[in-house]
Point group: C2
Chain length 498, copies 2
């Protein structure tokens, strides 16, 4: 007799194929598609999203999913797929297909409007579109909310199951209580770290060439991946044999360099998903925060360490000889770890990074709760930056328009970045007990580190949730104390604080 | 009451969306996708093709198409869509969905195997895949063939409706009778045309920069289009606001230049399709030969004329100053029109071009009729080149592996190239009666020429077939005599023949 899962499989495959097509359209949209294609391509994306909706959310699928559970003859991977499907059904079954399609079409357009608005430094052309995106997301969350459930909690579920607004409020309290004073100490310290040599007139070609080298050195496999340019760096994947990262080139040599290491961290996660899980509903990273834990682990804990650069710094000096020719490894490493208030999240140092997230988290909450209007965002944004970081953006391009996320409808996504830092620190202190990380880096043996993470984190995809992965890997439940410990150790040493 | 067409429309839209996704995957596959992605992405392509198959070929669609005809209340564009749908149904309804999906998966893979085989100059790794592709196409044609109908005729229908093997045999007889002797006269002429200055060590960057300029000058609209690099230049489009061309860079400066003008001709056609037709089943060029007529019109009749280069030759000289600095416009134009036997079709001059097609047409026929085995192709190919062009390829890369088409399953496609030349010549002699083409080119007014073609050819998409377009535009039925006349006039003058 055929199992219910075997009957379900073709539906899941159809959904996977449609989803992969949507991923490719998104990639193309961000990296290549011509300016005027948006409207008509948006129609295609809307229709494909509708088909995805239909492939997942139909009577047969709902019945087969129930039957799968009743039969109870599933492998671990199959059971996880059914569970993931039910999560997706919970989401989709509450949203009318027409609205779902409209929303897909809208976000294809809104990301383009955002890019244009950022380019022209004009919030007013973006505001009406963002307003629509927000209204859709609130409406969708409203459809799904259980009695008394906060809209923000519904949204958070899609990115980090198990982390509610209540828990996040506590987490960000720790950041406010521990990291803000630490940042003030650093700011007031007398230690001056020169970093003017990081700025210059670098050609895209030079940056790309060394960027590709560093990506490959960190673990990006170009036989299974592509690197391109987009307004905002991101990683996406069609499956575990096609993982794609982007970067952008500026007049700071560390900007594209560390964004590439960051996206490579994401990519290493996706390359590491087991072959039997890729192209299934559990064939992605466990959660957004777990993904960020990997990207930020590689970018910061690994990528900003002295040992990482030890074997390859001469190569970097050669690429940027005019700027780095006379800069020692020590000076370079100090410079790329310099903590200072800045306006751009993706270029923030490790210490101030979570303060950028704090701003976004608080604004998101207010937008969703209706206490803040979209029109008032630029001002509210500037006020929060002044409050937490002591500086105020002079343009919307370096203010509220810097991130793509809200244009995509990703409200509730930003907290994952801060959580990711905390996950990464917890993993790091555990790994240090098992291996000599600095020794490995100095010897250029990054593969040992990648293999460890692959074994304990990457391979599972969504078979386990982020909290379980942390528990199994470190023997402990999530503990943000490691993150605080890590920042204190690092920045007290760097700034010679007691 | 709702018309049957309004009920049919959502099915057509779904099919369009799936088809657009397949186009994007094909583009990505040829231009960007990483080496190892093929297998898993092939699975996605197979599944999407199956969904396309299902969207078009199902009971409701078949019934609605019939009902549309019975109701008889269709606009011209709607009627054309229903007609096109029925053509598609004729094709699909004979092919089992499973085989259709397998074939889609196979060709995604086979184009990669072809690229690899060409790169490594190894026919043996490609032969088994090509054999499978050919067998599928023969099987599919067999399913569709009416009693006594030739398999080749079934295949031709998909590219150039109305042109049977019988007609093509006659057409190629004209070429054999008229063009082969003309080529011999040219070859034996004492006129020597120097062209060594076209060869050099040109950087991709230089070629790309001037290539983009020439594309734009010819009429490529970068707000609605993209230019990239692939093994074999091609044009594709998602719709009339997203048209994409590729080129490749070699040590001949005219190679990428004229391939770009060629693909721009295709692109101008797709840009010119009416807005109410794009994203429908008739929103593409009328036929393959009509498409080629436009690409080859721009590449050869326009692009290789003295008047075309008159305003922009200084710019070209500047880009390639080392090679062209001391070459006069006259010498350059003569060089890019030089006729000589060569091995590569896409780099062939206008005179020998049809002989390259003659080789392929004859080989295709033999393959399909079973008189030639795939394993024997390299030898048979070389023999035909020796027979018609007097030269023999020394490697398979410059022989049978030079074209992508067969790897895609496009048997019966090549004749369109020769037909396209003939369509273009017929249009040209008619246009000359209406406008001073050389005067317009010398004044840089290409838009007048584009506008004429848009009005008489491009805008209609598939509303009319190629023969009807020719009739309406020129007042005459298809007449290959114009093609012979054009080549004779041009080459007798160039080689000072009587």
């Amino acid at each position: 007799m055929k199992r219910a899962f075997d009957e379900l499989k073709p539906y899941l495959d159809q959904a996977m194929a449609l989803n992969t097509a949507l991923v490719l359209f998104e990639w193309d949209n961000e990296t290549l598609a011509p300016e005027e294609a948006g409207g008509l391509t948006g129609r295609v994306i809307g229709l494909l999203s509708g088909q995805y909706f239909q492939a997942v959310n139909n009577e047969q699928v709902v019945a087969l999913a129930k039957q799968c559970e009743a039969e109870g003859n599933l492998t671990e991977a199959e059971a996880a797929q059914v569970k993931e499907l039910e999560k997706e059904l919970e989401k989709l079954s509450h949203i009318p297909r027409k609205e779902y399609e409209e929303f897909a079409r809208l976000t294809a357009e809104s990301t383009r409007v955002w890019a244009k608005a950022k380019e022209t430094n004009d919030f007013s052309c973006f505001a009406p579109v963002l307003k629509k995106v927000l209204e859709y997301q609130k409406k969708f969350a409203g459809y799904r909310a259980k009695a008394g459930e906060k809209l923000m909690d519904v949204m958070l579920k899609d990115y980090e199951p198990g982390f509610t607004t209540e828990l996040l409020d506590q987490f960000f309290d720790v950041i406010r209580r521990e990291i803000v004073p630490l940042f003030h100490e650093v700011r007031d310290s007398k230690v001056q770290i020169p970093d003017e040599f990081l700025t210059g007139d670098f050609s895209d070609e030079t940056q790309e060439k060394i960027g590709r080298f560093v990506a490959e050195y960190t673990g990006f496999d170009f036989r299974k991946g592509v690197m391109a340019v987009s307004a905002h760096p991101f990683t996406t994947n069609l499956h575990n044999k096609d993982v794609r990262i982007t970067t952008h080139y500026t007049n700071r040599l560390d900007s594209s360099l560390f964004s590439i290491i960051h996206e490579t961290g994401h990519a290493i996660y996706e390359f590491g998903i087991r072959d039997d899980l890729t192209q299934t509903m559990v064939g992605q990273g466990a959660s957004m925060a777990m993904h960020e834990s990997q990207s930020r682990f590689f970018e910061n804990i690994i990528g900003r360490s002295r040992s990482f650069w030890e074997p390859i710094y001469p190569k970097l000096q050669e690429a940027f000889s005019e700027n780095l020719g006379k800069v020692s490894l020590e000076e370079f490493v100090k410079a790329v770890n310099k903590a200072q208030a800045g306006l751009i999240r993706t270029e923030a140092d490790e210490l101030t990074y979570s303060l950028h997230i704090l701003v976004r988290y608080e604004l998101e909450k207010e937008l969703i709760e209706g206490n803040l209007q979209v029109e008032d965002l630029p001002g509210a944004w500037a006020d929060k930056y002044e409050e937490y970081l002591g500086i105020r953006p002079e343009t919307v391009a370096e203010g509220v328009l810097q991130d793509i996320h809200w244009s995509q409808g990703s409200f509730g996504y930003f907290p994952s970045y801060a959580l990711g830092n905390a996950f990464g620190a917890q993993l790091y202190y555990h790994m240090k007990k098992e291996m000599d990380i600095d020794g490995l880096l100095a010897a250029g043996k990054l593969s040992v580190i990648r293999d460890y993470l692959r074994e304990h984190v990457h391979q599972y995809g969504k078979l386990k949730d982020s909290r379980q992965i942390l528990k199994d890997a470190t023997g402990e439940d999530f503990d943000p104390g490691y993150y605080v410990k890590y920042l204190k150790e690092k920045y007290k040493a760097l700034y010679q604080l007691s």
